[in-house]
């Protein structure tokens, strides 16, 4: 869309004044929001921030590196339980969050090994098996899952003179912002390009010097790290964990967010996360018809916009750029 003349220009996150204006406007609005919007709205945005982090991570793996994974619920659970146990032991929140991400990332490497030999549906099955295995282990081990009472996670209560919901929102908003910037950076770096090369043709990628073992495992580790952090944040927000919260449905939710948002798109990941959370919530008054409404909206989006929400977004931008010409 833009004419890029140098590598430095390519690396720039925001290339035009106008874009800077709109991005600034959006960020400003998001910062001011908790002071004017209802607490319900703020809570939904907090949830979107949490899910956006995991969706971005999975998009790195599925969208950018082209490795299909159905193990999201497993990584989410590992992150959530790591965080839960550490928070109960009195470890500071940020440290526990980091540990949640690292623990999930380490398991990501383990799950990544089969990806060196397996592709497509075969890899999908392996990761699916991992997700189910994690659930089973948690359901059967009282030591890990906190036993028959579930695991209560102490809530993070900042006393900094602003309402709790607002503080919680700011924390998640800043974290999501940091992850978004990190993702943009990563995608534009050598690593990001290596991911894309592997997706497009792994043999060719190897021929031009991309270390397949290293970058496939890295893709798994990084994406799992993101999902682990999402799990930790989720545990913190809900304050209670039981294995039934990490069934295959959770995998589907994140997977749908990646696809609906648009493969290989950072902004798409955020839009996808917003989609999977907002559609059921906005229609919650329709009661028993929600699954139908949800399913139909997914159909509609994918039939009319196979590139997902980010594809539609790109077309809208292009339309206005060329307006009044078409």
């Amino acid at each position: 869309m833009d004419l890029i003349e140098s590598y430095r220009e390519e690396l720039k996150l925001i290339r035009k004044r106008g874009t800077a204006f709109w991005v600034g406007l959006l960020l400003g609005a998001l910062i001011l929001l908790p002071w004017v919007a209802s607490e319900y709205f703020v809570y939904l945005l907090t949830l979107i921030a949490i899910y956006a982090i995991g969706t971005m991570g999975q998009n790195l793996l599925i969208g950018y590196t082209g490795q299909i994974s159905f193990g999201q619920a497993g990584f989410l659970a590992i992150g959530a339980y790591t965080f839960g146990h550490l928070a109960r032991a009195g470890v500071p929140m940020l440290l526990a969050l980091l540990a949640a991400g690292v623990a999930a990332g380490l398991f990501g490497i383990v799950v990544g090994f089969p990806s060196l030999r397996l592709k497509g549906p075969y890899l999908a099955i392996v990761t699916l098996g991992f997700g189910i295995a994690v659930y089973q282990i948690l359901a059967n081990s009282e030591l890990l899952s906190g036993g028959r009472m579930g695991l209560s996670v102490p809530k993070f209560l900042p006393e900094i003179g602003i309402p709790r919901a607002t503080a919680v929102y700011y924390f998640h908003f800043l974290l999501a912002l940091a992850f978004t910037l990190a993702t943009y950076n990563l995608v534009a770096s050598y690593m990001g390009r290596a991911f894309v090369a592997i997706r497009d043709n792994d043999i060719a990628a190897e021929a031009i010097g991309v270390n397949l073992t290293r970058y496939k495992l890295l893709a798994f580790a990084i994406s799992s790290f993101y999902t682990g952090v999402q799990g930790g944040l989720y545990a913190q927000l809900i304050g209670y964990l039981e294995p039934n919260m990490f069934t295959f449905m959770e995998t589907i939710t994140i997977f749908v967010a990646v696809i609906i948002g648009g493969l290989a798109s950072v902004e798409g990941s955020i839009m996808g996360a917003a989609f999977v959370l907002l559609v059921p919530q906005v229609f919650s008054g329709y009661k028993e018809f929600i699954p139908v409404v949800f399913g139909i909206t997914i159909f509609i989006v994918l039939i009319f916009e196979p590139l997902g929400l980010s594809g539609r977004w790109l077309k809208i931008r292009l339309y206005w750029k060329n307006w009044p010409f078409r």
Binding site: L25, V36, A37, Y40, Q281, S284, K287, E288, P291
Partner: protein, 400 residues
């Protein structure tokens, strides 16, 4: 030039902010007007536990009936009903949405949901009148927070202990087996049975404890394991559908021991789920609700509910269960009087002594030091398509 840009940004920001939905803070008590009081109800109307959402339909039908009788203290009851699909994230979001709009919340359903949402009530000064989930979570809950919570739900472990004890003492059972769901509900059942076994060392034994996962449907191997244990009595802590499946599988192998079950299987709809193998089973039922088809009081309520919502037909047990929760809320509203505040509601609920909602169930007692209104069971037997009570109400110690 740069300054100009900044001004633009600021102006646009202000404009944008004006467009955002602003939280409405009306004066007075949330959810209460001169003519209306709003009760929030989030429940699974879709997803794996959708059947249990009938409790909310029953509660709403009862509120409609009371409204037709003139309401409570000159106010009509409005139910704000939302679907949470048994998902704690969504339940919490629904409650956030209800904040400022509802006076109280009734009938929260699911252990994970209740646990995730419990802090919402004291933090926002919204009374929670009845919740259906593992009661042990309230035991160590701080007292100043527990003030907002009123529960009438039996404890699974107490119930399991009672079932095993009763079978040993009255049904002549000696060798027990338990078939349970691999989660907190099933494991509490197991703990209760073990507790009962410890009371009769050498006389009663637990020969097998077999667990299953919620996703399993083929239960033949489990049935064989139960059969091989040689137990004369099997206790079930399962969902309705798994209870039906395991009994059919056991019958297939010619294994017909005495069967006792936890109260979620107390619904006579089990005859349709399990078929003829259900005949003779001893299901427990919660002491706080009634059995349509056996209790005339419950029948009267069920008839009213069906008039207000014909969809309830065939699901009377759960509908009455939910309607009883609504009766608790209405009793509180009545006692709180015309000047309705959360504090008045708490005092009103705490003043309830020896009260039976429409004559249903065991007497309810709340108080400043007691927020577990009824903790008890009644044993039923499946006979000729009906669930017939064979014991009186057995009350356990309240837990909080």
């Amino acid at each position: 030039m740069r300054r100009n840009g900044l001004r633009w940004v600021l102006c646009s920001l202000v404009l944008l902010v004006c467009l955002i939905p602003v939280s409405v803070r009306a004066g007075g008590v949330p959810g209460v007007t001169d003519k209306e009081v709003v009760i929030g109800w989030t429940t699974p109307l879709s997803g794996p536990a959708a059947l249990w959402g009938v409790t909310a339909l029953g509660g709403k039908a009862w509120a409609d009936y009371i409204n037709d009788q003139g309401g409570v203290n000159g106010r009509k009851i409005k139910i704000l009903l939302k679907d949470d699909a048994y998902n704690p994230t969504r339940a919490l979001a629904n409650l956030q949405e209800m904040k400022g709009k509802v006076f109280a919340v009734t009938g929260l359903l699911g252990t994970a949901v209740v646990h995730a949402c419990r802090d919402f009530f004291p933090e926002n000064k919204v009374p929670l009148i009845t919740a259906y989930g593992n009661t042990r979570m309230w035991e160590k809950y701080p007292k100043d927070r527990l003030r907002y919570i009123f529960i009438s739900y039996p404890d699974y472990e107490d119930e399991a202990e009672f079932l095993a004890t009763y079978a040993f003492q009255k049904l002549g059972s000696k060798k027990f087996a338990i078939f349970y769901q691999n989660d907190d509900y099933g494991k509490m059942g197991l703990a209760g049975v073990k507790r009962a076994m410890e009371k009769f060392p050498g006389k009663a034994q637990l020969a097998a404890s077999v667990s299953y996962e919620l996703t399993e449907r083929a239960l033949d191997t489990h049935a064989l394991k139960l059969k091989e244990s040689g137990a004369d009595t099997v206790i079930l802590y399962t969902t309705m559908s798994h209870g039906g499946l395991i009994l059919k599988a056991m019958a297939k192998f010619g294994y017909r021991p005495k069967v006792l079950t936890s109260f979620p299987l107390g619904d006579p709809i089990m005859y349709r789920v399990a078929g003829e193998v259900w005949e003779g089973v001893y299901p427990a039922s919660s002491a706080h609700s009634g059995i349509p088809g056996s209790d005339p009081e419950a029948d009267r309520v069920a008839d009213i509910l069906k008039k207000y919502n014909p969809k309830i037909k065939g699901k009377e047990y759960l509908a009455v269960f939910g309607a009883v929760s609504m009766m608790y809320t209405i009793e509180g509203l009545k006692r709180a009087g015309r000047n309705l505040t959360p504090e008045a509601m708490i005092h009103a609920m705490e003043s309830i002594r020896n009260w039976k909602p429409e004559g249903i169930g065991a007497p309810v007692n709340f108080g400043p030091n007691r927020h577990h209104g009824v903790n008890g069971s009644r044993l039923l037997q499946a006979k000729g398509g009906k669930h017939v009570p064979i014991t009186d109400y057995i009350l356990y110690k309240p837990h909080f």
